[in-house]
Amino acid sequence: MTLQLDSKIPSGPIQDKWESRKFDSKLVNPANKRKYKVLVVGSGLAGASAASSLAELGYQVECFCHNDSPRRAHSIAAQGGINAAKNYRNDGDSVWRLFYDTVKGGDFRAREANVYRLAQVSVDIIDQAVAQGVPFAREYGGLLDNRSFGGAQVSRTFYARGQTGQQLLLGAYSALSRQIGLGAVKMYSRTEMLDLVVVDGHAKGIIVRDLVTGELREYAGDAVVLATGGYGNVFYLSTNAMNCNVTAGWRVHKRGAGFANPCYTQIHPTCIPVSGDHQSKLTLMSESLRNDGRIWVPKQQGDKREPGQIPEDERDYYLERKYPSFGNLAPRDIASRAAKEACDSGRGVGETGLGVYLDFKDSINRLGKDAIAARYGNLFHMYSKITAEDPYSRPMRIYPAVHYTMGGVWVDYNLQSTIPGLFVLGEANFSDHGANRLGASALMQGLADGYFVIPNTIAGYLAEQKPGAVGADHPQFGKIRGEIDDLTKRLLSIQGKRTVDDFHRDLGKIMWDKCGMARNDAGLREALKEIPALREEFWKDVRVLGSADSLNQSLEKAGRVADFLEFGELMCRDALERRESCGGHFREEWQSDDGEAVRDDDDFCHAAVWEHKGPGEEPERNVEPLEFDNVKLAVRSYK
């Protein structure tokens, strides 16, 4: 093992760890803060909250995003809600329970200390958002409302209709905008980070491409914060926004940052099924719908009757049957596999047979159509736009789709990667969700990282650095910029026959078939042959038109797909080496008689952290052992 994986977890009881870290950490005195410059890449929930909070503290901040405005980061699309251990319901919730649910939900593959801190600061996030004017749903008494999400038996999810991500991001964006207006943050939109500059082992800057003029530029800083989101689009089809990508995370990995658990991907059970080859992305139907919708398939194989014609006793409400205590609110990995199983057994619905029903009839009868419309109106509208079907009168058809990636750049308790000075937040890091994320916990994590964790932990690093020690005139900047320039020229000079999307689709198919909802040794080994072959063909036969010195969307995509073609291989390798099933990582060889995931805690109770060894070299697998002192390692049961 060559990576230094010191998790830097503070000692002491779990309840006191965060307080003691804040107390032990070195501070930067207020007058000195303005001498330090922090580069924040990403303006989603994690990036926008970090950039604004750091600027409020007095640091000079420069923030970058590839979208045309920070407000359009992928976080905007989150629908269902955000968890917090407020216990406003008096239903037995607590910081401890949120911690416990998250560790268990992650199938015991997350770091306890991080998860506990997440649960602790969750309550402050809601306060912060409300103070910013985020219009969460309220009850008639004027107090905040809650709903339930999967993997929990309490109601702790705060929401803003089906647009929670939008409202939270607009809150963070307004805080960021305030700092931009004050001149404390310099914002660079339509600007893509293409590489990290490491000087004497420390992250000291980035190379970016201005997506309008094509110009490559260098930015130096005293620390770099990456909040660049997840890599679900390696599958081509996912619920992620079209421009989400792994480039920032992958390129820092190639510069020395360990990448943890890349095979942990979340397949969300309730998405609108694929309708044809033209499909460019998949649309999520929020998990919150499972509060009021019941999932079923016909009991009989090949039953092609209209759903309304199938009598109650010929329906299989399979989640309620298999998991009576959680029912339709079973966690995502479990609900997805159950849907796959139902369809694999020939009971799937819709033209392709790859679908199950999500039925609101009972809730509409009980609560009335208006009540359902008030809760989920925008989701029902979205569904009917896409399918031309009316979900008020006919059950929705849904199927699992790639949604979220738990793996990411390895970080310690301070959110610092294996490269000193490089911090990673939000979906881009690996830290809090283990092998499966619970619903409504990504928004919580992104905002926890940005508003509350990084403002505290970054000081410990900066306090030991001389501000402005390395400028963009350092030769390392020019060198790396030259490498990026060469890469761009190479992409434009191939002038082959196949489009970038064509390659991306092929990669997606390999990943979905062999590294998707179920994985096995033989399939992963095939993928490990097919991906390098596809990559080689890409570099011989891709066609990218246009020039490097203008707005060129094919070129942007080509760079991202080139990285996916390398990254996909690491995912399959990680999936192959993890010889157990846990959470979203289901290895067919490790399952119980009734098809549940079987973990191997003796050999795999650890995070796998990959180290890049240079082009053409095999990456090295390092491990960070996970210790469970507060939650007992147990078989996860939702029965």
Partner: protein, 253 residues
């Protein structure tokens, strides 16, 4: 089905206010279009075919493809986001068009939104309006308990209705004056209906109006085209809210 497309092509950022100067409409024919395709998937196919022929694909902005990020911004047959009410271009499906249709696709046209290439415009002016005051000044960590300040549900709902604006710019594109009143009004109305928004209410509205003028957005002459074009159906009452707030703040100052 088959469609005939007329698409604005422009290879460099606009250099003048005269739209005709920098680009032109180009005709394309596309067959094998499926009614289940989204409008943007239809453009994807066009781009795949153009690339195969060695012609540069059409640049257009998009990201979420589910009507929430506000990135897509197409003028379709003279209407922002096309023919369907309450629908963004990315949520529009080809089943809304007839076989053999001719479809004209252009970028947003407004002085404050210069064209960068083909169908892509620069909406940075919206960000600058927000930076001028569309926020509540509360630093991280300074908040009181979320339930310390109850908000009547009716007020919260009003605030929410305004807050659903996705900042796409359709309102500006639809308005013959290229006014941003619906956009800015939505911001004012959102904060106006919340107790947290009261402290800065005067300053906010004055700064927003001043910045809109500076950015070159036009005045509102009550045409209501913005409301009809808004994919989130933000009502023009937010403009009334904003006018009332503006007059109030002016009198006080």
């Amino acid at each position: 089905m088959k469609v005939v497309l007329h698409i604005w092509r422009q290879s460099r950022p606009s250099t003048s206010q005269d739209f005709g100067q920098d680009g032109k409409m180009v005709r394309y024919e596309l067959d094998d279009v499926s009614a289940d395709m989204s409008f943007l998937e239809m453009l994807d196919i066009l781009n795949e075919r153009l690339t195969a022929k060695g012609e540069e694909p059409v640049a257009f902005d998009h990201d979420c493809r589910e009507g929430i990020c506000g990135t897509c911004s197409l003028m379709i047959n003279g209407r922002p986001h096309g023919p369907e009410r309450g629908t963004t271009a990315c949520q529009l499906h080809m089943r809304s068009f007839q076989d053999g249709s001719e479809i004209w696709i252009e970028p947003w046209r407004a002085k404050s939104f210069p064209v960068l290439r083909d169908l892509v415009v620069d909406r940075g002016a919206f960000d600058r309006v927000v930076q001028a005051g569309a926020f509540i000044s509360v630093n991280t960590g300074a908040a009181v308990d979320a339930n310390a300040m109850p908000v009547p549900k009716a007020d919260a709902d009003k605030a929410f209705d305004a807050a659903t604006c996705i900042g796409c710019g359709a309102c500006v594109a639809a308005c013959k004056n290229a006014s941003a009143m619906l956009f800015a009004g939505a911001k004012v109305s959102h904060f106006l209906h919340l107790p947290q928004g009261q402290a800065e209410r005067d300053r906010r509205v004055l700064n927003l109006v001043e910045t809109m003028d500076k950015e070159g957005f036009g005045n509102c002459t009550n045409q209501y085209e913005c409301e009809a074009a808004c994919p989130k159906e933000i009502p023009v009452r937010v403009i009334a809210d904003m006018n009332r707030e503006y007059n109030r703040a002016r009198i006080k100052s």
